[in-house]
Symmetry: C2
Subunit: 383 residues, 2 copies
Amino acid sequence: MTTNRRKPAGRPATLPDVAREAGVSRSTASRALAGYGSVSPDARERVRAAAEKLGYRANQLARSMITGRTHTLGAIVADIQNPFFAGVTRGITDAARAAGYQVLLANTDEDVAAERAAVKMLRDKHVDGLIVAPAATTETGHLAAAHAAGCPVVLLDRQAPGLPADSVTVDNHGAAQDAVRRLLVAGHRRIALVSLLGTAPVGTPADTPGTAPSTALEAAPADPASPDPASPDPVSTGLERIEGYRAALREAGLTDTDTYLRTGTFHREDPADLTAELLSLSEPPTAVFATDSMIALGVLSAARDHGLRVPEHLSVVTFDDTDWARAVRPRISVVAQPVQELGARAVHSLITRIEGTAGTPEHIVLDTEFIERESIASPPDAS
Amino acid sequence: MTTNRRKPAGRPATLPDVAREAGVSRSTASRALAGYGSVSPDARERVRAAAEKLGYRANQLARSMITGRTHTLGAIVADIQNPFFAGVTRGITDAARAAGYQVLLANTDEDVAAERAAVKMLRDKHVDGLIVAPAATTETGHLAAAHAAGCPVVLLDRQAPGLPADSVTVDNHGAAQDAVRRLLVAGHRRIALVSLLGTAPVGTPADTPGTAPSTALEAAPADPASPDPASPDPVSTGLERIEGYRAALREAGLTDTDTYLRTGTFHREDPADLTAELLSLSEPPTAVFATDSMIALGVLSAARDHGLRVPEHLSVVTFDDTDWARAVRPRISVVAQPVQELGARAVHSLITRIEGTAGTPEHIVLDTEFIERESIASPPDAS
DNA sequence: CGCATCATTGAGAACGTTCTCAATCCAAGC
DNA sequence: GCTTGGATTGAGAACGTTCTCAATGATGCG
């Protein structure tokens, strides 16, 4: 007669199988494999051999039920097809894997409802923590709830004033200001900024929709360094870059900072259209600052359609050093962000928070690097 | 006196909490919420109300332990930073979410060992299925094992002859042949192909490493339509594109198909260097076919460094319609792959396999589209 | 009225781990 | 010899669900 409850050939081996094979109890087998408690060298070796013989792999689901840890992180980004987020995601997955974590990925397409749904799904799956590039600055209740319930949140690329969470960003204000300064130094005075912001046009709450396809932002508050916390929903990153742009212009004595400022809405406006409108002005800009690489593509496209050559007729600078920026002709001068490091640092912050104690939120600000290439020249009318 | 085992305020509500609140048993509460078995309308409503009142969310880990389903898919791709895979990943996550699944993401960097490790980790987490762009054609034992153990595998973008798994690809041979034909029609006779293949140089097994930084492939086997199944490890996709290229050249009466064929190794060779070498030949090619967008960037970069203008001096065609291809000057003619659909179809195949029965592997081949733009002209010496 | 059928319900097992705790054993110290 | 203490071990609970099964009550039919 055989022992009853023998392992059927097909089924993957479980801990009782290993214990039986090694002639010890479940408890000892578990201790030997997980490496806690105390186990005699002899038992440890027998368990190890049995586990190897049976090809035993611990069921992480069962383990997670007990330990409360899944070793899984949730990453919620706007759009992996944007090279910036692709790089960030790459940094996240690599750093996570190195630390023994896996990554559950979700896209929001800049939509808060999708973000909320993603948080819900990920928390149902009991991720140990969340890395989020929030779609909105103010609507962060779902993030605060997760954080309060013991599912740490780290903000990536974007800030959310009310949320007591760690964040990893770059100095958007300073980087934008620096980039625009370089255009000013080259002699430009009519410098445009093209950006895509939140999911609704920016302006005062009671603003009537403008007739133009794009709306200029309201004048900045008195203190230019602090973006208005009561402003509507666009993400902090875009706002900070705009403030940096304004600051640089003001610094150069240009008081009318919003003449060439064009912001559109994700999925509604096309950066190429915004640029086309700018280039059709009676006094068109001689330089354009794009707030990310996908917008830069629109700017480039519109410039070409207007028969303008870069940089002879139009200088161009953009955030994000994508692969094409250094391969096209002319090579584009950029504000390079440390994309992979941004993701990696977010992972490290998150894991520290998961494994450590609560504490006051930490805000990591990484350096950007301005890479001078061939897309900036003196303005055409400067001669 | 209170009932013992009351829910402490902090802890999230569990099924027993809901059952107690609704005055029914765990079993009935579970049935009411999961919607199986039979429950009286009255009980169903009381449970629903109790669940809502307590903010109950089922613990998916516990559920998965019983059902054996995690509603999680594993996606293993080479590199999310490659726009092709970024698009595919986007398609995967979107389709998965729509079908009620989440996606666990892993990068391999074209490394089989990393792929093997990823499969192990993902299976430990009990993903319901795997979508894989395999790093190698032959070393697929880990994939076969997963498949055999009831974790279905769907191959994406690449084939693996020995593996009885579904696959979703495009007609690489036909698409490459078509692209090269268009260069031939424009009058080109010296057409180069630049590609990056596996993790080792391609050639006969006993081949000695060439002195040149790149190695030309051995002559094709007698039957040009079927890539040599005994060839070493480069992925099928690249091989098929090369065969399509050769077929087009042969069709045009060019017997020496490998003169301008340059293949490098991931992480070892730079496409720009391969191109530079080609352009330095005494009879340089007048057109280059790049097998993906990142290679095209290298080609463009090398062309610029050689002072060549596209398309006047050099025509360029590439696989993958990335955003920059339609924004740069000149706009690049491309073989567009349905990237998002590739991902979505892989998800659908996988879910069908997960929820349905086993069966003979299905091979889905999607259409590519050649998009004619401005990067093809007649060869400079044709006048 | 007796019996079969059906809907509804709850008790308890099951999933595969980790954790708590008490029991056992052995050597050392008094 | 007896006690102390540490190392080692196994029994059993726990995690939060779903599933199996038997029990109950109501209904319909002959």
